[in-house]
């Protein structure tokens, strides 16, 4: 089903033409992969702890510390580094210009790695801003990350500004936008001036919501608008829908953070605004998702041959599903049954894994071999795909059932422990799915190493044993 194309002479040509950009992209992907392994190992440990709460009873492996380590490492380490590594290449490529400053991007990568390591150490030691989701890092750690963010934002902007073609491609709208948005979001989250008491809750809703939607989603969509047409060998279905999706995403997505605190003392008008615009989110989601899905029509031939296209398709399908689910969760009626339950956990994994991680993998497998001239073993790519897909399928379904059972138990007025007992068998399934997911990441790591630059130029017999020869 999958074919090797390593003898394709065009592969090497592009690697020579923009080598520094490619190396930067690859360095980002390697670091990201390390954080994927660390971050999801922490996630698996947290899942295991709900099955065996007395396992590994030491402070730094306690559930309450491992959970923020998992979320922050996969957010700021894995997803951010991988997306930005790919995005920098997309900006340079669609600008027909080399990366404005590979040195600045490398410095940014250094700062980001320093932030993730510092975050890992501080959170393990219990040094935290408290359970304010995804802004647990104390400010010096966050500042390291922001510094890297600014450097990368400037590099991306200057690369687009020095482009050699008149067109400012829609991918770059999303990517350059994402840097501006996250800078705004992090500044808003860490400046304390308006965050006493309930003010903090208002900002928390805004932060945890837009942090996902205006950073990860924007970058992933920007990459998808470049990579999906390229892999499929056809133009995007509608350029105009891409632009519409961009502006409506900014408008609607930003206004709906308060839907995380429905029925709370947060001003009622803010909650209602959030619910209304959550419905409005169907515009950018179906404009963007539909646009990308329509680009896939009649491409079953490519889907069968390509090993990146299935990841991209799965990613976009998850994007549409998770966003539609998000709208449904925002209503006051559904909130009664689903809020505070594990449905939330399933939702966030459908987003950050089903959508974001799959787009990263699709773009990585689609781009990197063409740039470096080194291909992974297609069988291993297939194993990665199916382990990840089946693994997270089991994960999301079981944890969502757990959430629904919790909700029913609470609404029925049963004693609290009944909801724990109801969810427990599902938590075991969730862990089983997690094992498959983490295993797939190890396979991905092997594949990333096989795609490293310069390998095609090295004598094949000298290659290390991890690589499978054709």
């Amino acid at each position: 089903m999958l074919q090797r194309r390593s003898q394709d002479p065009t592969l090497r040509a592009s690697s020579a033409s923009d080598s520094p950009t490619v190396r930067v992209t690859f360095e980002y992907l390697v670091c990201a992969t390390v954080w994927l392994l660390v971050g999801t190992a922490a996630g698996l440990l947290a899942a295991l702890k709900l099955n065996w709460p007395d396992a590994f009873t030491v402070p730094w492996l306690s559930f309450g510390r491992v959970r923020p380590i998992h979320t922050n490492t996969v957010f700021w380490g894995w997803s951010s580094m991988a997306l930005v590594g790919l995005a920098l290449y997309v900006v340079a490529r669609t600008s027909r210009a080399p990366l404005w400053s590979p040195t600045l991007s490398r410095l940014a990568l250094l700062l980001w790695n320093a932030a993730v390591v510092a975050g890992l150490l501080t959170l393990s030691a219990g040094v935290t801003r408290g359970p304010q989701e995804y802004r647990e890092w104390i400010w010096p750690v966050a500042l390291l990350f922001v510094a890297g963010l600014v450097l990368n934002g400037v590099t991306a902007y200057m690369t687009a500004a020095t482009r050699r073609i008149p067109e400012f491609y829609v991918s770059n709208w999303y990517i350059l936008g994402a840097f501006c948005f996250l800078a705004t979001i992090l500044a808003t989250a860490y400046i304390p001036l308006y965050q006493r008491g309930l003010g903090n809750v208002v900002i928390q809703g805004y932060f945890m919501h837009t942090g996902v939607g205006m950073w990860f989603t924007m970058l992933a969509l920007g990459i998808a608008y470049y990579e999906i047409p390229r892999v499929l060998g056809r133009p995007i279905y509608s350029y105009a829908l891409g632009v519409l999706g961009f502006w409506t995403n900014i408008l609607f997505y930003t206004l709906i953070g308060a839907h995380h605190f429905i029925f709370s003392p947060v001003p009622w008008w803010l909650q209602t605004t959030a619910i209304l615009f959550s419905v409005g989110m169907m515009v950018p989601v179906w404009a963007g998702g539909g646009n990308l899905l329509l680009t896939f029509r009649d491409t079953s031939g490519v889907l069968q041959r390509s090993y990146s296209a299935p990841f991209l398709l799965a990613g976009i399908v998850a994007y549409v599903l998770v966003s539609t689910q998000g709208t449904l969760e925002a209503f006051r009626s559904t909130n009664i049954y689903w809020h505070f339950t594990n449905v939330t956990v399933g939702h966030s994994h459908l987003a950050m894994y089903g959508f974001i991680a799959f787009v990263i993998w699709g773009a990585t497998y689609g781009l990197v071999p063409r740039l470096t001239g080194s291909e992974p073993d297609p069988i291993l790519v297939g194993i990665h795909f199916w382990l990840a897909l089946v693994g997270y399928g089991i994960y999301v379904v079981s944890i969502s059932i757990a959430g629904i059972l919790q909700g029913f138990a609470w609404v029925a007025g049963e004693s609290f422990i009944r909801s724990v007992e109801a969810a427990e068998p599902m938590w075991l399934w969730r862990t089983a799915g997690g094992v498959l997911m983490v295993t797939s990441h190890a396979v991905f790591a092997v594949n990333v190493w096989a795609m490293r630059p310069g390998r095609a130029l090295v004598d094949a017999s000298a290659a290390p044993a991890v690589e499978v020869s054709p």
Partner: protein, 189 residues
């Protein structure tokens, strides 16, 4: 040739528009509610309870326990609905997003026994066999014999080595003081 929007126009419009939206939907609403006063006559937390709250933050208790009661029938067991004043002096407030464990806004009223809380923190399975909460044995000490002034925790035999006693450290006592401070004051009509 087709006219393309410039990168400067797109980025500056998106950036400034986003900052404006953020101010409107997050910063201004937050600023307008941040000075809600606390409930009059509500007792202040003791220094020990304050120390306990820091440990509560450190151990990530808020990932599984909310302090956010909604005006809904299913939240009745946890107390009255949370009001803005409840969060007035909390830095940060801990509404939470998940209830893997029950809400704790009013836990001291439901479970006022300090012995129960010490046992529960040492190993939750000692009091609730089906519990999946982590234990915090590092806030306790196993000793051959209790010294005068020690707070001995009556741990069931299967959770402690024979001939030993479990004594609560300062941190465990602080955490319990915090949990016992979680009692919703009445909202004046």
């Amino acid at each position: 040739m087709r006219a393309y929007p410039s990168h400067r126009a797109v980025v500056s419009f998106a950036f400034s528009g986003y900052v404006a939206l953020t101010v409107l939907i997050a910063v201004l609403p937050a600023a307008s509610v941040q000075d809600t006063r606390g409930i009059q006559g509500a007792p202040a937390r003791s220094a020990l309870a304050e120390e306990g709250r820091a440990i509560y933050l450190r151990e990530g208790c808020g990932y599984c326990h909310t302090q956010f009661v909604r005006d809904l029938p299913l939240d009745r067991p946890y107390g009255r609905a949370t009001v803005a004043a409840d969060y007035a002096n909390e830095a940060p407030p801990l509404p939470g997003t998940e209830r893997t464990g029950p809400d704790l806004s009013n836990v001291a009223a439901r479970q006022p026994s300090d012995t129960w809380h010490l046992l529960h923190l040492y190993n939750p399975r000692a009091v609730v066999p089906q519990s999946v909460m982590p234990g915090f044995p590092w806030y306790f000490e196993q000793k051959a014999a209790a010294a005068p002034g020690d707070v001995v925790v009556p741990v069931p035999p299967r959770f402690v080595a024979q001939g030993h006693v479990i004594v609560a450290r300062q941190e465990a006592r602080a955490l319990v003081a915090y949990l016992l401070s979680l009692r919703q004051p009445e909202v004046p009509k």
